[in-house]
Symmetry: C2
Amino acid sequence: MDHVDKILAQWRRERPDLDVSAMGLLGRFTRLRTHLGREIEKTFTDHGLTSASFDVLAALRRSGPPFQLSPGDLLATTMVTSGTMTNRIDQLEKAGLVERLDNPDDRRGVIIALTSEGLKRVDAAVSAHVANQHRLLSELSPQEREALDALLRKLLAAFE
Amino acid sequence: MDHVDKILAQWRRERPDLDVSAMGLLGRFTRLRTHLGREIEKTFTDHGLTSASFDVLAALRRSGPPFQLSPGDLLATTMVTSGTMTNRIDQLEKAGLVERLDNPDDRRGVIIALTSEGLKRVDAAVSAHVANQHRLLSELSPQEREALDALLRKLLAAFE
DNA sequence: GCAATTTATCTTGACGTCAAGATATCTGCG
DNA sequence: CGCAGATATCTTGACGTCAAGATAAATTGC
């Protein structure tokens, strides 16, 4: 009987016409997402980052040397709007973690490049982040983690 | 090979020291959450609501007649700060969907009451929302939904 | 080769959220 | 009874996000 079960019991009493099984699953999903998000955020805070800034730095880092991508490339990996990406890059540039370079091939565009400080920061952050992610899933056995991943993959495939 | 697999492949190439299995699961979780959240939001928009306002109206609705709770009660069910709740109530009050009543037992506090318009609105919205939730999970079989719910429940229990 | 369209990025204004703190009231203890 | 600490709610200021649209440059098709 968790928090979500109590909510479902209330709905069954007040609106017995509703089939609340999907609401239970999605309610747990949402609450879990909030808890996980807050825990993950803490690790980034320890490294002077946020989820938002880490997403951008991580995309640059894992793209490999020379750690440069266009804002459009970054948009494609991050599920945010162009205005949000402009803002993220502005913040990271102010913090000295990335810089905007002229794009020699397209004068409309720019190239976002990780600075050496940005590289150091993201490498440290990702190590801590990965360790933290394992901690957050440590309640599940390896088999359970695999089953959960497979189910999420299947559901996600419907959207992408 | 979904979007998350591509990200993991990049990390394996650039940072082979990292065990990215947890990152895969959590990455799918996060992307799925974004897709689901956007789809759910659309249904609320159709009813002149947002997830935020629906959360409040739904808590009042499922509490049963007389559809009244204190801001503190609402806080306990919604995982937001008191400032956020004040703002949500302000918006709903402006929209005529709830009203603030004096709390006769505690002059510090107020009682938030669903208006008749609020009741109509949330009853219509929750019906559409439940139908939409089933649609969003229709890619999974009943067995898969049950398995997913059980795994989410187990993981959520670690936080609540 | 030029006009029309598309593309890449940035700007603007509005929201929703949070952390920290303010205010008013209640409660328990001496 | 009266005061210290707890509690309920609201205020303030800062962020991150989005939708819509602006700007400038590249591309397409005639």
